[in-house]
């Protein structure tokens, strides 16, 4: 019944992981010290090195980092979309409703992908196949995972288009991708990702290619869909503004490592890692009375093949000491689960002295700064 190649048996709903309860003491998605290395000619690229987080239904995790920080590779690994070789999982585990995704066969993973965990990509222009109608592409997952007939799939495609706010869906299902604008295509991608009502929606820079007014539409749509379906969202982005908008939890990544993880509240108002501070200071603030000058992070991200000794951020960190340059910091974890990979995160005086002005743990002299819209 698949569009391509061999006929696939639709999954019995009872076997569907999505319909099984999350085991006691575990979470919807648990990523546990995941390590993903690429073995290349130039050496071992430690693209993902020790990522851990948990996610439950209805939550949104924001993953922030620069290009090459491993934020996308982590989630391609979760989806089982990394070619191995050159990729190799060097440790850790990914558990979905208590089941390890790394132990699953390719066939089991195919049931997971799209059905339980769905992904949308940055570029809506190339994510859709130009030779099939939108309706056919939307219905493909349903026919694959749910065993829908052609008519049922088309009927559902119309509903999905309507749900994501595409006007005149009965007509539009018969259209081809080039007949849609960029924002409309991203809506189609969201409809496609939500077609099988997945538990987790991984969105890899879903709005980066879009204009700001369209970005606002798409973010609102994703939030609305989440409210309705109760799914979890992983929002991968380089834009702190976008995560401030949507995220409940935030993971900041640098050179393959999660350097800080916490609730949105913690990351924005009580950040403890110098890289997070650097990111916050790098963004032009929506104007107050005077223009604040930006404090960029000096230097360039390190080579993942040839990581500096000690803390990978130490060459660019304004507070780095000799200890930072020789010794990899342990995770500093608070009782709320907020963690940071810095020797000094536990030093309240250091944090108060150096944290950015809008941080609530910063010295009171420079607390609370404006930003009214």
């Amino acid at each position: 019944m698949g569009l391509f190649g061999k006929k696939k048996r639709a999954l019995d709903p009872a076997d569907d992981l999505k319909n099984q309860p999350v085991p006691e003491g575990s979470h919807l998605l648990e990523v546990d010290d995941l390590k993903m290395y690429f073995h290349t000619q130039d050496g071992v690229v430690k693209a993902v090195d020790g990522v851990s987080y948990t996610l439950d239904r209805g939550e949104t995790l924001g993953v922030v980092g620069e290009s090459g920080s491993g934020k996308s590779v982590t989630h391609m690994t979760i989806m089982g979309l990394i070619d191995m070789p050159p990729g190799k999982i060097e440790g850790g585990d990914i558990r979905y409703r208590g089941h390890s995704l790394l132990e699953m066969t390719e066939e089991q993973m195919q049931h997971i992908r799209g059905n339980d965990i769905a992904m949308i990509f940055q570029d809506p222009m190339t994510s859709l196949n130009p030779v099939y109608t939108i309706g056919r592409q939307l219905g493909e997952g349903l026919r694959l995972h749910r065993g829908y007939s052609k008519e049922q799939a088309l009927q559902r495609a119309v509903e999905l288009l309507d749900m994501v706010g595409i006007p005149n869906p009965e007509q539009r299902v018969k259209d081809y991708p080039h007949q849609f604008s960029g924002g409309m295509r991203q809506r189609v991608m969201i409809a496609m990702a939500l077609a099988c009502d997945p538990d987790i929606l991984i969105a890899d820079e879903p709005t980066t290619a879009l204009d700001v007014t369209i970005q606002a539409q798409i973010i609102e749509l994703m939030q609305e869909m989440q409210k309705k379906n109760g799914n979890a969202i992983v929002m991968i982005t380089h834009d702190l503004g976008v995560v401030a908008d949507v995220a409940d939890k935030i993971m900041v990544m640098y050179a393959g490592h999660p350097v800080e993880f916490g609730t949105a509240e913690e990351i924005f108002y009580n950040p403890v890692h110098p890289y997070t501070w650097g990111l916050i200071r790098s963004i032009p603030k929506p104007a107050g009375d005077e223009k604040e000058s930006l404090t960029p992070i000096e230097g360039n991200p390190p080579s993942l093949v040839n990581l500096p000794a000690g803390c990978p951020f130490s060459p660019r960190c304004p507070y780095a000491t000799d200890r930072c340059r020789t010794e990899m910091p342990e995770l500093y974890v608070t009782e709320t689960g907020h963690y940071s990979r810095c020797h000094f995160s536990g030093d309240a005086a250091f944090v108060a002295k150096n944290a950015p002005a809008n941080s609530r743990s910063a010295a009171p002299a420079n607390a609370e700064e404006g930003g009214e819209a």
Binding site: E66, S67, S181, G182, G183, M184, D211, V212, T213, I214, Q215, A216, Q217, I219, E220, H238, D239, L240, G241, V242, V243, A244, D245, A247, A264, E265, F268, G278, L279, I280, R281, S282, I283, P284, K285, P286, A287, D289, K291, S293, L294, T295, P296, I297, E298, N300, P301, N358, G371, E372, A373
Partner: protein
């Protein structure tokens, strides 16, 4: 500021690109109205920000001013000379004083030339510093100013990261000490931390050399940060312009207001508490732009006259221009539209 002579005076600038229509190109010729009758001034040493969404014509405006593409009509007066009439030697002279920084740090440097050759090329073209040793000294100095290692003069662009390449592009633009630099999305291809480095560099260089910038970008917060005055473009038209602070605090045009409200603010409390105006639909095609006000198809406060007559840019406060029939009468903030 208004008393001084403008360095660049743009008046009624238009650029239309013909599009093929019909199988044999017959029938009425159709045009993309990329830039449609825009006027503004840039004064010496200031930064004029031009912001808008993709396809609004902001880059086309920059390229027309530089004469990288020929404007369809309108006047561009740079440093007292009508740019659109310049030919040959005079055009070359104009390009001595006006330089361009490109968006894509990968495509804007010739991969077959060394960094030294790239940065010295404007000097060679304009016959300045004919002595090679002197020229290379100057290039080393320029590399140093933009924060690159002068020892890397013999390296090739592919050996550098995106942010470093953009610094090379900036060094090249400053080689001739121009009076105006058109910065076409110079930081949008860069990572956040690198973006801040480049923005600071541009500010520092401006402070040192007194160069004026036409800063074109889609990112409103970046434009606000670097500009003295900001203009908002939509579908080839200027909708509103004023000094950066007024535009931010008291936007008159509904498009500016929605643009400002759509920019995500990196502060969850602000983000969750503020009112957002989400515009419906997509920007219309510039091939057959809407009649009257270009924005009326998406405008939350559009009236009947908006689809009939095109609003002129009016000075709503000194130095603050806005092209909207309803703006002054009925600013969106007071109508409290819930969308």
């Amino acid at each position: 500021m208004e008393n001084r002579e403008p360095l660049l005076h743009v008046e009624h600038l238009c650029k239309r690109f013909p599009v093929e229509s019909g199988v044999f190109g017959r029938g009425a010729k159709r045009y993309v109205h990329a830039v449609d009758d825009i006027s503004f001034d840039i004064y010496p040493g200031e930064t004029f920000g031009l912001v808008g969404e993709s396809g609004c014509g902001k880059s086309t405006t920059g390229r027309c001013i530089m004469r990288l593409i020929e404007p369809t009509s309108g006047t561009v007066i740079f440093d007292g000379q009508d740019v659109s009439q310049l030919k040959g030697k005079d055009l070359k002279k104009m390009r001595h004083d006006m330089q361009y920084i490109f968006q894509d740090p990968y495509a804007s440097l010739n991969p077959r030339m060394t960094i030294g050759e790239i940065v010295s090329e404007p000097l060679v073209i304009h016959g300045e510093m004919t002595d090679k040793a002197e020229r290379m000294d100057h290039v080393r100095h320029l590399l140093d100013i933009v924060g690159l290692n002068p020892e890397h003069i013999n390296r090739y662009p592919h050996e550098f990261s995106g942010g470093q390449r953009q610094r090379v592009g900036i060094a090249r633009a400053f080689a001739l000490r121009p009076k105006l630099i058109i910065c076409d999305e110079p930081v949008s291809a860069l990572d956040v931390s690198i973006q801040a480095q480049v923005l600071n560099l541009l500010k520092d260089l401006q402070a040192e050399f007194g160069t004026a910038y036409l800063f074109i970008a889609h990112d409103l917060s970046v434009v606000q940060h670097i500009s003295d005055r900001v203009a908002v473009m939509y579908l080839g038209n200027l909708m509103e312009y004023s000094d950066w602070k007024t535009l931010y605090d008291e936007p008159h045009h509904p498009y500016t207001q929605s643009l400002l409200s759509a920019v995500p603010v990196p502060d969850p409390d602000v983000q969750h508490s503020r009112k957002r105006i989400i515009l419906p639909g997509d920007p219309p095609s510039p091939i057959d732009p809407p009649s009257g006000c270009r924005f009326h198809t998406r405008c939350p406060i559009a009236q009947k006259q908006c689809s009939e007559t095109k609003p002129e840019l009016r000075e709503v406060c000194p130095g603050h221009f806005c092209a909207c029939h309803c703006a002054a009468v009925n600013p969106i903030k007071e109508t409290s539209i819930e969308l």
